[in-house]
Symmetry: C2
Subunit: 567 residues, 2 copies
Amino acid sequence: MHKLTSAEIVVLFLSLGVLLATARLFGEVARKLNQATVLGELLAGIFLGPTVLGALFPEAVQWLFPREGSVAIALDGLTTVAISLFLLVAGMEVDLSSMWRQGRAAIAVSISGIILPFSVGFAVALLAPDWIGHEPGPDPLLYALFFAAAMSISALPVIAKTLMDLDIYRSDLGMIVVAAAVFNDLIGWLTFALILGLAGMAGLHTAWPIGWTLVMTLGFTAAVLVAGRWAVHRSLPWIQAHTAWPGGVLGLALALGLLGAAFTQWIGVHAVFGAFLVGVAIGDSSHLREQTRSIIHQFVSFIFAPLFFASVGLKLDFVANFDVWLTVVVMVIACAGKILGCGLAARWGGIARREAWAIGFAMNARGAMEIIFGLLGLQVGLIRERMFVTLVVVAMATSMMSGPLIQKILRLTRARRLSDFMAGRAFVADLVGDTTGEAVGELSAAVSLATGLDARMIAARVLERESQGPTGLGDGVAVPHARLEEIRSPVVGVGLSRGGVDFNAPDGSPANLIFLILTPRDDDGAQVEILADIARTFRSDEVRQRAVEVRSFTEFLALVRTQGLAK
Amino acid sequence: MHKLTSAEIVVLFLSLGVLLATARLFGEVARKLNQATVLGELLAGIFLGPTVLGALFPEAVQWLFPREGSVAIALDGLTTVAISLFLLVAGMEVDLSSMWRQGRAAIAVSISGIILPFSVGFAVALLAPDWIGHEPGPDPLLYALFFAAAMSISALPVIAKTLMDLDIYRSDLGMIVVAAAVFNDLIGWLTFALILGLAGMAGLHTAWPIGWTLVMTLGFTAAVLVAGRWAVHRSLPWIQAHTAWPGGVLGLALALGLLGAAFTQWIGVHAVFGAFLVGVAIGDSSHLREQTRSIIHQFVSFIFAPLFFASVGLKLDFVANFDVWLTVVVMVIACAGKILGCGLAARWGGIARREAWAIGFAMNARGAMEIIFGLLGLQVGLIRERMFVTLVVVAMATSMMSGPLIQKILRLTRARRLSDFMAGRAFVADLVGDTTGEAVGELSAAVSLATGLDARMIAARVLERESQGPTGLGDGVAVPHARLEEIRSPVVGVGLSRGGVDFNAPDGSPANLIFLILTPRDDDGAQVEILADIARTFRSDEVRQRAVEVRSFTEFLALVRTQGLAK
C-alpha cells in the first residue's frame, strides 16, 4: 500500500496549518482595508512562496512546501478538491430565476460585455501577438481563444460582495448587474470548457474527434441545468423528510459536486466546470434551506478557499515573472472592452448615464475567477508564467478599483454603523451614577478622553437635547445624543448600568445600556443611521441580557459585531 | 513539480464522490434502524472494498480505489486530515467544566472503568497471549499495553448520542456518564499517545531516549489544556470583534488543530492526539458561539467522518480476517471489564442498582474511537489484520447494544413525536369543507384509508370529544382528537385548509392546520406528547405559513422534520 510516512504527515499538517493561518490572517488584513479577502489570501501564498520567504530561506520553504514527492501530491489533491468545492459554492450562488426576471437588459449587458472584450482580446492575440508577449509553443488560434475568454470573464462572488458592501445589492441596478454576472459566469465557463476541450490538453482521449468533447460538454451542461436541476428540486423535500438534517443534503450536494467534477474532467474539460454546474443545479432549488447553504458556504469560503488561493501564490515567483508593459496592455484591453461593452449596452437599454457606467465598472471585477482561469491555462500549457502573473494582477486590480469607482460614480455613502464609532476609551463597563445627569456626565468624561473634547461641554449639550424630549427607547436602552460643530465624524460612548438609569422610556423601564451619540452638525444622516443600527442590534432580549453582562470593551465589540452579522 | 495527472484527478474525484455518497446512504440506513451512523459508514467501505465488491470485480475496485501511486497517496492524505478534524470536533464536545461539576462520582466511575478492563486486558495479553491470537512480531509488553488500552477506551460521541436519543442526556445519570466519558477519553488518548511514544514506531527520532517522548507528550498535554485553553478563551472575544465572523474563529480552530496535529505527529505520538487536545482547549471556551461550533461540527460529521470511516472499510477483507473465537474472547474481556468496572464504582458511589448498571452499559459503547485506535495500531504494526477486524466488530457490537440495554434496564420509553405517526394516505392537502363536522369527516376518511378503521366511527368519536370542549389551539392550529380501543399505536391525520375552519379557538382565528390525533385508550402519555410536539413544531409564524403552502405529504414531512431539529 502506498502511504504517507510519519515524517511526511508532519510536513503535510504543518504546511496546511501554516498556509491556512497565514491566508486567514492576510485575508483579514485585506478585509480591514476594504479589499476582497482573496487578495490577502493570494498575497499570503506569495509571501510564503518563492517570491519572498522562498527567496530568503530557500531550504526551509522547500522543506515545508515540497515540489516533489508524496506531500506535494497530497497537497495537489487537496487543493484540487478545494477549488472544485469553491466553484460548487460559486455555482450555488447563481440565481437563474433572478437572471430571467431582469431579462433583456441584463442579458444585453452581459452579451455585449462578453463580445466586446472577447473580440478585442482575440484580435490582438491573433493579429498583434507581440503586444501581449506571445511566446512560441501553443497553437496561435487556441492561445487567442484562451486570451479572449480571459478578457471577457467576470467574477460573480466579488461583484456580489462589492454590491453588498455598497448596500446596492437589492437595488434595480444591483439586480441587473448580478443577473448579467450570472449569465457572464455561465457563458464564460462554458467557453473556457470548450477551449480546454478543443485543446484536447487533458490528453485522456486522444482518439476522440474534437467535436465529440464539444458535444459532451454542451450535452452535460444542458442535462445538469435542465434534468439535473429538476431532479434535485424534486428530491430535496424527500431527502429533508427522510434523512438526518442537514447531513442528508450536505452529503448529497458534495457527492454530486465531486461526481460532476469527475465527469467533466473525464471528458477533457476541467473538474471545476462540473462542480460549478452541479452547484447551479442545487442552489437554484427553493427547497434548499438557508442553513444548509450557509454551512457549505462558510466552511468552503473560510477553509478551502484560503487554502487554494494561498497555494496559488506558492507556485511561482511573482516578482521575477512580473512584466509591467504586458500588464499595462492586458489591463487596458480587459478594462476598455468590459467597461465599454457593458456600459454601452446599458445606455442602449435606456439606463441613465451614471448608472450605465457604474454597471460597466461593476462587471469589470474579475477576482477569483480570472485567477482560476489563469492557473488552469498555465497547468495545461496554454500560457506561460509571465501571462499568468499578468492575469492575476489584472484580476486583483479590476476587483480593487470596482467598489471605490462605483461609489464615486453613483456618489454613494455607506450607512454608518455603531461598531465603526465606538472606542475602548469611550466605554464604561460599570456606570456609578443612577440619574440621567450623572450617567451622561460619566459618559461625557469617557468620550472626552477618547476625543479630546471638553467633557462639560459635551454633557451640557447632551442634557440640553435631553430637556427637549427623553431619549429612553424602552427595553433598557437609552440613546442620549447631540450634534456638534466640533467633531468631523461621529463618536459613540457606551455605558453599562447594572442598576439602571431612568431616561423616561415609554415603557418606564430604567436603561441598562446607554449610548451617548455625538454626530457632526452638518451630517444629516449619521444620527439616524447609528440609532437604527443600535435598535436593530439590540432587538432581542438575549442580546441585551448578554450586553449588560460583558466585562470589557472587546467583549462588547465582539457581541455587537457577531450580532450585527448574524441572521 | 509533482502533480496529479488528468486521469488521476478523474479517479480521485470519482472515488471521493462514490465513497461519500455510499457512506452517507449506508449511514442513513443505519440511522433509520436506530443504529449509530458510523456503523453504516463503515459497512459502506466494507461493501465497496475487498470484502464484497472487490471480491466480485477486483479490477474495477482496484482502479477506483488504487492501493499504489499518486491517487492512493492523495486519498491517504485526505483521510488523515479527515480523521484529525474528526478528533478536533470530538475534542470540542468535551466539556471539562461539567466533568468537574459531577466531581467524585464521575471520576470514580471513569477511573474504575479504565483500570478494570485495562488490568484484565493487560493480564490476558501478557499471560495468555494465545487466547487473543498473539502473533510473533511486536514486543509482547507493548502489545499487551496496546491491547489493554484498547479494552479501556470509551467513545464520547456515541455515548452522548445514545443518551440524547433516550432523552436522558440532561438527567443526573446522563451528566455523570458524560463527565465520566470525558475523563475516560482524555485518559484513554493520553495512554494511547504514550504507548505510541514508547513504541517509538513513528521512527522520526530514533536518537531520542524513550523518556523524552513521554515528557514531550505530558508537557504538550499540560500546555494545551492550561495555557492553550486560557489563551484561546482570552483571544476569542478579540477575534470575534475584529475579524470576519464566523470565518475568523473557523480559521483559527482549524489552523490550530492542524498545527497541534503536526506537533504530536512530530514527537512520535499520532496527529489525532494533537487535534483532539486543541479541540478540548477551543471547545471549552464559553466565548465560542454555538453557530461556529455547529458549522465545524456538521461539516466534519457529515463529510469528513463518512469519508474516513468508509475508507477504513476499504483497507482489508473483513470476512477473510474475521475470527469468531477471537472476537468472542475480546468481546467478553471488553464488556466484563468495562461494565463491572463502571457499574461497581457507581454502586459504591451510592447510585441505585438499576442506574449503576445503566451507567456501566452506557460507558461500554466504543464506537468510532475503538476503530481509530485499532487502525492506528494496525498502521504502526502493533497489531495484525485479525485483531483489527476484531476490534472493529467489538466497537460496533458494544455501541449497538448500549442503547437498547439502557432502555430495558431503566424501563425508558421515548417521547412520541408527530413525525412518527403521520402517513401519506392520512394527509389531505386541501380540505374542502369549512365546518368542524366536514373537516373532521374528510380527515376521518383519510385516516380510515391509512388504518382500515371505519371512517364514520372515527368521526363520531372525535366529534363527541369535540362537544366536551373545543380543540382549536389558536394561531390557525386545531387538534381534534380521540382515544380508541381499536388501535395499538397512535395515528395522526393532517389536513390543510386554505379558507380556514372554525374550531372555536380562544383567539377566534379559524384553523388552517388541522391534526386529527387518535391514540390507544390505554396509552396515557401519547396524546400529550404528540400535542406538545405539534405546539413546539408550529410555534413560529413562518413555519405555520410555510406549512399551509406545501403541496405534498413529503414536503410537509420535510418541514416538520427540519423544523423539529433546527434550533
